[in-house]
Every structure is written in structure tokens, then in C-alpha cells.
């Protein structure tokens, strides 16, 4: 029996998860987000444009209390197609010839 849950074409828009319970309202997420996904609120950051998230991960890496989780990654279509065709693990744009080495 195939597991349907492993289907990569899941319907959620992105992988952003925010737990306002943990938020200490430091304001960093709203200042690092390039799409205004988070905005400053009274006492807590507000997830105001969930659908605009492009999973860059800036909020997650800078949140001091771990209230934000997002599976960030380089959305390089060519690399993903290659990975899907070769059934390899998805890396990123490959070697240094594309966009520099990965750290």
C-alpha cells in the first residue's frame, strides 16, 4: 500500500508554522521578513500574510524563542527537477558553477 501522505504535492501553501504562545514581541520577525508576512502587534507578532511566505527562513533563524518554524531552502526549479528525475535527494543549484558553494 502506497502512503499517500508522502505525496509532495500537498495542498498547504507553505511550511510556515508560528506559535504565538512563545512570542516575546521582540519585533525581529517583522523586520527581517521581505514580504510583510509578520507585522508588529500589541504584545505579540501577528502572522498577517501567511500566503505571502516564500520560506526564506529569515524569521526562523532570528527568532530568539523558536516560535517560528519553516522549512527553508533554495527553490531552484532545475535542481528539483533533476532530483525528481534522478530520484536523488534534493540539494540545491548543484555545484559551485551555479550559485557558489553551500555551507
Amino acid at each position: 500500500m502506497a502512503k499517500s501522505s508522502s505525496c509532495a504535492c500537498g495542498e498547504s501553501l507553505n511550511t510556515l508554522i508560528y506559535d504565538p504562545e512563545l512570542c516575546i514581541n521582540c519585533g525581529l520577525c517583522s523586520s527581517v521578513c521581505p514580504h510583510g508576512v509578520f507585522t508588529e502587534g500589541d504584545g505579540k507578532a501577528v502572522l498577517s500574510k501567511y500566503e505571502e511566505c516564500m520560506e526564506c527562513g529569515a524569521c526562523q533563524i532570528n527568532c530568539p524563542v523558536g516560535a517560528i518554524h519553516v522549512e527553508s531552502g533554495v527553490g531552484c526549479a532545475a535542481a528539483m527537477i533533476r532530483a525528481a528525475l534522478l530520484r536523488r535527494n534534493e540539494v540545491t543549484c548543484g555545484d559551485a558553477a551555479c550559485c557558489g558553494p553551500i555551507k
Binding site: C9, G10, N14, S30, S31, P34, A58, A77
Partner: protein
């Protein structure tokens, strides 16, 4: 006597003025010429005559990034700490972690920044944030990280206001941002366009060669320009729409400018559409990587949703073409 051998880290003087040579380098970078070689040496730079309290800005060692920053700092005495991002811009390097926490920390140590300044605040470009954990940098170096605006040209406003407005914090992808990508896209596709159109010229004639060129130009020039105006939401379906439009002249010529009978012409018109449109869509799908608003989840979904569809469309076109060939040989039409 090892300490005697260790030279004091160099502070490299720079200016906010861009020379003709800088602009020529920018032009070449925009044309994809030797794209990994538009490099500035990583290290500490001084602009004007900075003192211990002067501001410290952080940038990538890509000429376009570094030059955008320094040319926006005219009249400001400051330091610029250039990270080693291997000649990659801030945003892409941050995505990979080369514009990252470890590199910031290492560069602070290598340049002995701590001994040089009293000011303990680093101003990083906002688009470096995906790679840099500000708390970690502060914990390990004592330097506080402040994320400045997205665009270097807003820095002076940022410094006067003491904070970035929501507008300064947002990335745009306006017509100028999109148009400037055209040479890179086009030059990237050029070898394929050239080889394939010559090849197809000899296999199946002038119109096939022209179709290859049309696919390339449509995908690399018109797609970026028309992006927000194309209907539908995702890139591939937008590309498919543009692809159908691109193929219309080819479909039209096969009906209008041909003497052969109607069935043959109609099938051949459909074949043109099926053969051309998926390739424009495919180029469009790959353009997602050049934008600043597609998520990995979104791109992956597009790939799984559309690649099979594009393949079916193209293969149907191929089958129709083969049938037309066999058909006219056997006298079906």
C-alpha cells in the same frame, strides 16, 4: 616570535564613487559574462575617514552588492565589512549560508574589528537575514546585529529615521527589476537557441528554426516583462498561456500560407501549438528561481503538477507531427 610575523589586518580604503570601470564590470555581470568573477576581496574597508564610533556596514564580495552599498553611502565616514560569499549576491548567499552567521563571526575575528572600534553595532542588509542569526553573532562576538533596509539606496533614510519603514523592508519585483534580468536569461539560453535552430533548420526548415528562437525570446524576454499581466497564478500556467500566444503565428502560417488540404493544415496548426507552448512554460517554471517571492514548497508543487502535463502536451505534438509525416507519405490527405 610568531606574533612579530603576524601582520596587522589591512584596512582597504574605498570610495562611494563608481568609476567607468565599475560600471563596465556591472554591465558585464548583467550580461552573465564570467559570472563567478565579479569579486571584491573580503575584508574591512574604510569609506571616508571613519573613527572608533563610526558605523559598520556588512556586504557580500560581489561587485554589484558592494558597489550598491558604497555608492549609497556618499558623505558618510564608515567601515564596510565584506564577507566572503564567493562572488554571490547577499540574498542568494544568505539562502546558502555563505552570507551567514559563521562567516560574519569569522570575518570579525580576521579583521580584528573589536580592537578597532568602540561602536558595537553591525548594520547588515535585510536580505542577509536568512543566513544570519543575530543573537548568535552578538553572543559570540559582542557585536549587535541590526538589519538595515532591503535596498542600499534607502540607507540614508534609514540612518536619519533610525528605523526602516515597512516599505523599505519589502522586496519588489517591478518592471525594472524584471527587465534587468533579461540579458542574463537570454544569454543563458542563447547557446541552446543557436544550436537547436540551426539543427532544426536543416531537419524541418525555416519555420522550425524560427520557432526555437521564438521559444527562447518569449521565455527570456516577454515572460519576465509580462509576468504580472499574464492570467493565472503560478509561473508554469502563465508560461503556458504565453506559449500558446507565441505559437499562434506558427499555427496561423500553417493554415494560411499553405496550399495543402484543410485536415492536414489544421492538424499541423495544432501540432505547432502543442510543440511550442510547453517549452515556453518550462522556461517560465525555471524563472521562479530568479524571483524573490516563490517558496520552495510552491515551486515543488508546480513541478509535480505541471511537468507531467507539459510532457504530455509536447509528446502529443510530436505524435501529431509524425502522423502528419507518415500520412502525407501514404497519401492520407
Amino acid at each position: 616570535m610568531q606574533t612579530a610575523l603576524k601582520s596587522k589586518p589591512e584596512i582597504i580604503p574605498t570610495t562611494s564613487r563608481l568609476t567607468g570601470r565599475d560600471k563596465w564590470d556591472h554591465f558585464l555581470a548583467r550580461c552573465r559574462y564570467r559570472r563567478m568573477s565579479h569579486i571584491v576581496s573580503p575584508g574591512l574597508y574604510s569609506l571616508g575617514s571613519p573613527g572608533p564610533e563610526s558605523q559598520i556596514f556588512v556586504s557580500a564580495n560581489y561587485t554589484l552588492s558592494f558597489d550598491a552599498l558604497r555608492s549609497s553611502l556618499e558623505g558618510i565616514d564608515c567601515y564596510i565589512l565584506v564577507l566572503n560569499t564567493y562572488g554571490i549576491n547577499v540574498w542568494c548567499a544568505a539562502g546558502k549560508g555563505t552570507f551567514g552567521t559563521e562567516e560574519v563571526i569569522e570575518r570579525i575575528e580576521l579583521t580584528e574589528l573589536k580592537n578597532l572600534v568602540k561602536n558595537k553595532v553591525l548594520i547588515l542588509p535585510q536580505l542577509g537575514a536568512p543566513g544570519v542569526c543575530s543573537q548568535e553573532v552578538e553572543r559570540r562576538t559582542g557585536f549587535k546585529v541590526e538589519f538595515g533596509p532591503v535596498r542600499a539606496r534607502d540607507i540614508k533614510h534609514y540612518l536619519t529615521n533610525g528605523k526602516a519603514t515597512p516599505e523599505m523592508r519589502k522586496v519588489n519585483f517591478d518592471i525594472k527589476d524584471r527587465a534587468i534580468l533579461i540579458p542574463v536569461e537570454l544569454i543563458g539560453l542563447a547557446p541552446y537557441i543557436l544550436v537547436l535552430s540551426i539543427l532544426f533548420y536543416f531537419i524541418s526548415g525555416f519555420w522550425s528554426a524560427l520557432a526555437i528562437a521564438a521559444i527562447g525570446i518569449s521565455g527570456a524576454v516577454f515572460f519576465p516583462l509580462l509576468l504580472p499581466f499574464l492570467p493565472t497564478k503560478d509561473f508554469t500556467s502563465k508560461g503556458l498561456v504565453l506559449g500558446v500566444v507565441t505559437s499562434i503565428p506558427f499555427a496561423y502560417q500553417s493554415i494560411a500560407w499553405s496550399d495543402e488540404i484543410l485536415t492536414y493544415n489544421a492538424i499541423s496548426a495544432i501540432a505547432w501549438i502543442l510543440l511550442i507552448s510547453p517549452w515556453v512554460a518550462y522556461i517560465a517554471l525555471n524563472f521562479t528561481g530568479s524571483t524573490t517571492f516563490t517558496s520552495r514548497t510552491g515551486v515543488r508543487r508546480e513541478i509535480f503538477r505541471y511537468i507531467p502535463i507539459l510532457a504530455v502536451i509536447f509528446i502529443s505534438g510530436l505524435i501529431l507531427s509524425v502522423l502528419l509525416g507518415i500520412g502525407s507519405y501514404l497519401g492520407w490527405f
